[in-house]
Each structure stands twice: as structure tokens, then as C-alpha cells.
């Protein structure tokens, strides 16, 4: 049978050679298909939005009646609801029009890069305090999204890597399947590759490699498997700490195993199999801490540099602050995102009611963590979710630095 299978595939190969190059065709077809399809949302959010509109209308009508009836005879009373910890606060007014001025901050000032809310072809940047924002000159092909390095000094469009001026610094030397993970120095990235552009269904060995922006590639270690509907990915890549965290992911995105690797030698420092209870694993940017939520997401165990348990925190950890002391909690099931100090399991900040987790980003070299949340008031209208972004400090204060943007 194996001989016949080989011969059949030889015939199919010859037939498929008539197809020619398929480079870039996937992205193009996806773009064209989605451009020709109407925006679609699930029934539940539509129903919720409709109900919310009805309730809001009723509430407004009620307020109007009360205002007309009582405003002149009563002083308004502000009712304050006590909170046990700080909640979202906004001190910066997000722009309502497409930005016209260029971002004018030193190259060393960290920024967060995003798509302009009113012009998806324009890439903007904002400082971590929300005080300065402006457009970036370069564009590239944003159809696959943007993925910035920690400082926001470079970003990849998944085909090439650009600086804030739009100059191409490097090309993505990957196999076209995934970029990988920026290293914490912002000048390297870790990437998982395998022999085949299209790995077989059963998978083939993956290789962790360390790439410099000059294009120099160093294979670190063969680890994990790459398959059509599953694969290995990089959860942390640290030049500073000389380590990376590689996760083996099932097709549902959960991690079934992970390895903490010494980058210089390829040595496996420690690893753990989660085959019995696959879950979403995250790591601090330096690979010192690995967070393993329970399957139900109620608790997360945090492991330290040697693999020993360092602490436990309520909720499902999605990311860490730069120094690893804070964690971002959230899930895709609708829980309100929070920021906690994991060593004593103290919630420092909770996102506004109705917000759900989208992304998080640690402030490079700083103590804040940015949390991007999706909110019902900003429904998605384009190819990427629209989010509000809060910069949360260790004391629990938060500044909303972006509103209704795509990252």
C-alpha cells in the first residue's frame, strides 16, 4: 500500500504542478472573500444590543420625564457606589478624527502602535501615559495585522519588519506560517518552523530558532511538533535572560506541553506535560514565570524560574507585567478583565462592566501593563476587533489611553 500511496502522490504532484506558485494566495483569497461578505455577528450580541437599545431608550424616556417633573424642585443627588478597588478611569480623550500630525517622540520612548480608528490604512502610535499620539509614516501591508516589539520601535506586518518611519528593517524569514515572538530586547525574535510549508496532518518535528533583524538565523533546538491544525509556538523569548518558552498547542489552542529552553545552548531547563488537562498557558516576557490556569479558569498556578510553584491567583492569567509581578486576568467567555498582584492574590484593577479581554502588553522596562478590552459600545466594523486600551499601574490606577481602535 505504501508503494501505491507514493505513486498516487507522484501523479497528484505532477497534476498540482500546473497550479504554479501559491505564495501569498491564502491572504489574498481571504481578503477578497471577507471583502465580498457582509459583516456578520452572532445572534446573541445582536439581541443584547437590541435589548440594550430598548432599555436605554426606556431609561432615557424615564429620565426625561423625571427631569421635567423634578428638576426645578429638587437638587440632584449623586449616588456613589463604593468599590473595593480602583476601576477604570479616563484622563485622556481619545481622538475622534483621524490623526494628522506625525508622532513626535524620541525613538527610545516606548509607544503602543494601533490602526487609526477612522482610517484603517493609517498606523498611529500613542505613548504609555496617553499624552502624545500621532501617525506613523510607514504603512506596509496591514491586512494581516500589526505586531509590535515591546518598545513599539519596530513592528511586523508578518511579511516584513518596519520601523516607526515605515522603513523596512528586515523581512520575516519564517516559513510564512507564523512570525513568532519578539524578544524582550526588541531586536530579535524567536520562531518555530518545520521542514514543510504545509506540515502533514500528523505533524513533523518543529525547530525553535533565534533570528536577528539582520537576518541571521540560529537553530536553537528541535522541540515540539508542527501539524496542519496544531503546532508549537513561542510564549516567551528573552535575550536578557537567555531563555524561551515553547508551547505545544492542540487544535483548540490549548497547551498540551511546554518547554523552558536555554537559548544559547538549546538545553531544556524544565518542562511539563499538560496532556491530561490542556489549558491556555502564558509566560512572563523573560520566561522566568509560567502561568497555568486550571481547566475551568478559576485558579492559576504560577511557576518560577526552576519550575517550582511560586504562587496561585484567582482567575485565568493571560499575561504578565514586565517584571512579572502583575498578571492580567481574563478569558474569552465574557469575564471582566482584571489586573492582579499574584504574590498575594490582590485584585488591583477591574475593567468596566461589559468589557471582555482582547490583548495585553507589558510596558517595556516599566511597571505598567496595558490591557485592551472589547466593549459593547464599540462594535467591530472592520477586519479586527475594536478595543479600548487602559494602562494600569501597580497601585491600581488606570488611564484609558485609546478608545475604539484596532491593534
Amino acid at each position: 500500500m505504501e508503494k501505491l500511496r507514493h505513486d498516487i502522490n507522484t501523479v497528484f504532484n505532477r497534476q498540482q504542478s500546473g497550479l504554479g506558485s501559491t505564495a501569498g494566495v491564502s491572504d489574498r483569497l481571504l481578503r477578497q472573500a471577507l471583502a465580498s461578505a457582509p459583516a456578520r455577528r452572532s445572534f446573541a450580541p445582536q439581541l443584547a444590543a437590541a435589548l440594550a437599545t430598548l432599555l436605554l431608550g426606556a431609561a432615557l424616556a424615564y429620565v426625561v420625564v423625571l427631569t421635567h417633573g423634578h428638576l426645578k424642585s429638587q437638587n440632584p443627588v449623586t449616588r456613589v457606589t463604593p468599590t473595593t478597588h480602583p476601576t477604570a478611569s479616563a484622563t485622556s480623550t481619545p481622538s475622534a478624527t483621524a490623526l494628522a500630525q506625525p508622532l513626535s517622540v524620541p525613538a527610545s520612548t516606548p509607544v503602543i502602535i494601533y490602526f487609526d480608528p477612522l482610517d484603517a490604512r493609517q498606523v498611529d502610535g500613542v505613548t504609555w501615559d496617553g499624552a502624545q499620539r500621532g501617525k506613523l509614516s510607514g504603512l506596509g501591508d496591514p491586512s494581516s495585522g500589526l505586531y509590535q516589539n515591546p518598545e513599539g520601535s519596530l513592528y511586523t506586518t508578518f511579511r516584513d519588519i518596519r520601523d516607526r518611519s515605515g522603513h523596512t528593517s528586515s523581512i520575516n524569514v519564517g516559513n510564512g506560517k507564523q512570525f513568532g515572538k519578539w524578544a524582550d530586547d526588541g531586536q530579535h525574535y524567536c520562531q518555530m518552523v518545520s521542514r514543510s510549508t504545509l506540515p502533514p496532518a500528523g505533524g513533523e518535528p518543529g525547530t525553535l530558532r533565534f533570528v536577528t533583524l539582520s537576518g541571521a538565523v540560529r537553530n536553537v533546538v528541535q522541540v515540539g511538533l508542527m501539524g496542519q491544525q496544531f503546532g508549537s509556538s513561542v510564549a516567551a523569548c528573552s535575550q536578557e535572560r537567555n531563555r524561551a518558552v515553547v508551547t505545544q498547542n492542540a487544535s483548540v489552542g490549548t497547551t498540551t506541553q511546554f518547554w523552558v529552553v536555554e537559548l544559547s545552548s538549546g538545553r531544556i531547563l524544565w518542562s511539563r506535560s499538560l496532556a491530561d488537562s490542556p489549558t491556555y498557558v502564558s509566560a512572563s516576557r523573560d520566561g522566568q514565570y509560567v502561568a497555568i490556569p486550571s481547566v475551568d479558569g478559576a485558579m492559576t498556578t504560577i511557576y518560577g524560574p526552576t519550575g517550582a510553584v511560586a504562587g496561585r491567583v484567582h482567575g485565568s492569567v493571560r499575561g504578565f507585567s514586565w517584571d512579572g509581578s502583575l498578571v492580567v486576568l481574563g478569558d474569552y467567555a465574557g469575564a471582566r478583565p482584571m489586573v492582579s498582584r499574584w504574590r498575594d492574590d490582590t485584585v488591583l484593577w477591574t475593567a468596566p462592566q461589559g468589557a471582555t479581554y482582547s490583548q495585553d502588553l507589558p510596558e517595556p522596562g516599566g511597571s505598567r501593563v496595558a490591557v485592551a478590552v472589547m466593549v459593547p459600545g464599540h462594535p467591530q466594523t472592520g477586519g479586527y476587533p475594536t478595543v479600548d486600551v487602559y494602562a494600569v499601574s501597580p497601585d491600581g490606577t488606570a488611564v484609558q489611553i485609546l478608545s475604539n481602535v484596532s491593534l
Binding site: N9, V11, Q16, R41, L198, A201, G253
Partner: protein, 174 residues
């Protein structure tokens, strides 16, 4: 055997997140294009079928039940689009064996000439089953979903096709 679908991306895609949809089906587009090309034999038509299948998948994503595998579901949509194109468009004028004779970038080895002719004579669904099983390396269970048949029927179809190509295959090769 069960097929875990990518629930995280699926849920977000169902909610209208196009990026999640791209994550979900992006890796499947190229093999889908190859499947379409194997069925229609023309690149532009194969791209049309794949693009239409993507649009259809985007619209029908809510029908993808939790736990249902994405890959064979999507390939089934692609195959249906190709079959519809063959039925409704100028493909009615194209003889299926032509599809196999269009690729001429490499001359077949002499020993494969007979096999190539034999494959061209296979019933369409048999050839499709072989392509899914051998070329795209899908497990039989996913071939069955893509073909819209039971696993047993898919397995029987693959074996029958192989037996037609190599009558001396033994029962143990099943």
C-alpha cells in the same frame, strides 16, 4: 475519534471577528485551493471556488457545531462549490480526464503513465477520496466528513479505488 475544533477562534469568529476567522481557516486555504484545482483543473476557477467557499464558510460559521472539526467542514464546502461549478458552468464541456492531462510542467515517469491513466478513469468521488486521504494526508474520519459519507463508506471508497489501480492489493492492505 473526535475532532476538537478551535473553539477559541471559532467563538470569536462566530461573533464577527474576521481576524479570528483568518486564524481559523487561514492555514486551510492553500490545501483547499489544491483540492479545488484537483477537481476543476483550472487555476482561476479553483481560486474562484476557494474564495466563494471562504465567503460561504464565513456566512455559515454559526452552523459549525462546538467540537466539530473545521478542516473537513471547510473542505466539504470547497468540494461542493467545485461540484456546483462543474454542474452549472462551462465545466460541463470539460472532460474530467483533461484535468489530469493539463499539468505538463514535468513529464511523468514511464512507470506512472499507466497509473495516471487509471486514475483519470476513476469515478470522480473515488479520485477525490484519494486526494484527501493521500495527498492532503487527512485521516479517514475527516475524509468521510469532507465527502459527506460515513467513515466506513469513505474507507471502502478508498480501498475500492486503490484496488482498481492495483488489482493485486491484498486484503491485508486495507
Amino acid at each position: 475519534m473526535t475532532f476538537p475544533a478551535d473553539e477559541r477562534f471559532r467563538d470569536r469568529a462566530v461573533a464577527g471577528d474576521e481576524a479570528a476567522f483568518a486564524e481559523l481557516v487561514g492555514p486551510l486555504v492553500e490545501p483547499a485551493l489544491r483540492l479545488a484545482y484537483s477537481m476543476v483543473g483550472d487555476r482561476s476557477e479553483a481560486e474562484d471556488a476557494t474564495q466563494e467557499a471562504l465567503t460561504s464558510a464565513w456566512r455559515k460559521l454559526g452552523q459549525l457545531r462546538p467540537g466539530m472539526p473545521v478542516r473537513p467542514w471547510f473542505f466539504a464546502i470547497v468540494a461542493n462549490r467545485c461540484r456546483n461549478m462543474r454542474r452549472t458552468r462551462w465545466f460541463g464541456l470539460v472532460r474530467l480526464p483533461d484535468v489530469f492531462q493539463q499539468a505538463a510542467s514535468a513529464e511523468p515517469a514511464v512507470e506512472n503513465l499507466d497509473l495516471e491513466r487509471a486514475m483519470a478513469r476513476l469515478p470522480f468521488k473515488d479520485r477525490q477520496a484519494l486526494f484527501l486521504r493521500f495527498y492532503l494526508d487527512l485521516p479517514v474520519e475527516e475524509v468521510a466528513v469532507a465527502l459527506g459519507t460515513s467513515t466506513t463508506a469513505a474507507k471502502a471508497r478508498i480501498y475500492r479505488a486503490c484496488h482498481r489501480l492495483r488489482p493485486d492489493l491484498s486484503e491485508e492492505d486495507r
